[in-house]
Amino acid sequence: MSPLLPPDEMDRRDFLRRAGLAGLGLAAAGALGWWAYDGRGPLASGEAGPQVKLPSYAVPGQDRKLALVKSGHRAPALRAGLEALGGIKAFVRSGDQVALKVNAAFATPPALGATTHPELVTEMVRLCLSAGARRVVVTDNPINDPASCFALSGIGPAARTAGAQVALPSAEAFRPTTLAGGRLIKDWPLLYGPLKGINKLIGLAPVKDHHRSRASVTMKNWYGLLGGRRNVFHQDINGIIAELARLVTPSLVVADGVVSLVKNGPTGGSLEDLRPTDTLILGTDQVAVDALAVGLLGLNPNQVPYLGLAAAAGVGTLDLPSLKPVRVELG
């Protein structure tokens, strides 16, 4: 501060300096409040709860792959689609430990299309084992009672028969996780137990209408990795789906639109809610796979906000031609 300045000018300068600092302080307080606010309170779990962080399960060199198979039969469609992407061996190598995240959300029969179809599970397990996988685990944290969900959806018996383990969620299987830079997934329980030791993660999801988010495909499928009172997230369904897509980087995702649940999702109920759409979509880019799949529900990707959110966050792309999708027609 120069002593040559008149006193008024000094006061003004000092005031501006203080105003600047106070403004910075206010901004810092506001930012801290915005970022650190926690209306829920801490989780019960863990003594000083060690957090877990999901690794990336992406297979090096296999990014930006997308294939679409037109077929009315799941098993041949899956085989053809994988062939188009370089074969199952491009994703699963000998000795791998593979987790299949299915959608077993509801205790409904396979015919209602609200859950991953057991045929798809059987074929994927078989392919993984044939590629030399040491272990295949099928898991989900369903909405309804887990044992009945896996039994009634047919996924449990199908997986076991094909040689996979079925991992039902137990209280010990959940560990807190935080998405770096996330707004919703903070210190939240993640279904981590079944993923221990796993080095490949494949998502198998049916294509469904969803009352809250319009469409439920492979990104929404990761919702089943959350525990706790996760339905609080329904207030920001698009936000949570986009964050889930950032949290989980799978080796491969498969959207089963051979039959799609086009109305009254995600539970459906009537066979009349289903429509044969004869399409199976596979890829390593969740956003692109889902963007193709919502077309089966008569939607365009702009109508499903979480696709844009996830693309903006760098999870994948909505520019489908840039991925050079492979199209396969089976008779």
Binding site: I143, N231, S270
Partner: protein
């Protein structure tokens, strides 16, 4: 205590008054806050949760045997059963859900599940019934609002909304879902439908059967646009949607119509000159289709989604003619 003090100036008086005002606001805020509380928090358990079938406990159908004891859900935990769709019911006015699984005698693989939703009102039940109606289903006469699909029966009955869903579409199960629905209707008695008389005001010419739906909350994505009836009119390859909503009086209907037009304009709509055939109507082009909005007496009404302006206008004229016949 003090020896002498200066007379307070105007600034002091103003600041003093402002501070006292803040104190009054704090007191008012505290008083308001103490009214906001949830008595259930202080130790009472929500009455509608747990492993009981509630009204389904005594429900039995000849030839069907229960697979489990059934479950009940309240607004707090509805999403434990139908996560993803719970909001549809909660927005319409939900009280409780009771579910139970039954199997055909001797065949545990052939089963069905009964979902009994108790809604806050008959209208709420009609709303969830109509907004999930499956097209091309076969109407039934079990209650005034009931239909079947290949594997299920759905019905609204007073404040109840019932779904009976079978695991497959076999003849045995098809009969069983019908039996179960009928057994319910007999036990509960047939009640008045929740569809208000508005539902009958849509012009019958060209109306698709069973297409009237009551949207109970935030219709067409517009917050606050509640209790709107919609109906579908197929026109060749396209579909027109007529809608109407009764408001308390004509002035409120007018305000609502203007609000909806503003909503359309705010979402990328372009207003065209008002059509001569329909004085007072407002024509908006949005995403390549025509929306026509007007008010008639206590009704807000209109037609949505027409690709052809003439067809839109024609249906709107029919609708307005019907509405103008309604006695105030």
């Amino acid at each position: 205590m003090s020896p002498a003090h200066a007379q307070p100036g105007r600034g002091q008086n103003l600041v003093g008054a402002a501070v006292l005002l803040v104190l009054a606001l704090v007191a008012a805020g505290v008083y308001w806050q103490q009214l906001q509380y949830d008595p259930a928090q202080w130790g009472r358990l929500g009455a509608t949760s747990g492993q009981t079938a509630g009204p389904l406990a005594a429900f039995s159908v000849p030839g069907l045997s229960p697979l489990d004891a059934g479950q009940s859900f309240g607004p707090d935990n509805l999403s434990d059963k139908i996560d993803g769709k719970a909001e549809l019911y909660l927005a319409a006015g939900f009280e409780s859900l009771h579910t139970r699984r039954y199997a055909l005698a001797g065949q545990s693989a052939a089963w069905l599940e009964v979902f009994l939703y108790r809604m806050k009102s008959a209208e709420a039940a009609y709303s969830v019934f109509s907004s999930q109606r499956r097209s091309g289903a076969e109407a039934l006469t079990i209650t005034q609002q009931s239909y079947r699909t290949s594997n299920a029966v759905y019905l609204a009955n007073g404040p109840d909304y019932l779904e009976v869903v079978a695991s497959a579409a076999t003849p045995g199960l098809q009969k069983a879902v019908l039996d179960a629905a009928q057994a319910y209707a007999q036990a509960r008695g047939v009640k008045k439908t929740g569809a208000a008389s508005e539902a009958g005001l849509f012009p019958p010419q060209g109306l698709q059967a069973n297409s009237v739906v009551l949207l109970s909350k935030d219709a067409f994505g517009m917050a606050g646009l509640d209790r709107v009836y919609i109906a579908t009119y197929p026109q060749g390859s396209q579909e027109l949607m007529a809608f109407l909503a009764r408001r308390a009086d004509p002035s409120q209907a007018r305000t609502a119509a203007q609000g909806y037009v503003q909503f359309l304009l705010g979402n990328g709509g372009q207003e065209s000159p008002p059509p001569a055939e329909l004085p007072g109507g407002r024509l908006v082009e949005i995403m390549g289709t025509w929306d026509l909005v007007f008010s008639q007496g206590p009704f807000l009404a209109g037609v949505r989604g027409g690709e052809d302006q003439a067809a839109t206008l024609a249906l709107a004229r029919l609708l307005r003619a019907r509405l103008s016949e309604v006695k105030p």
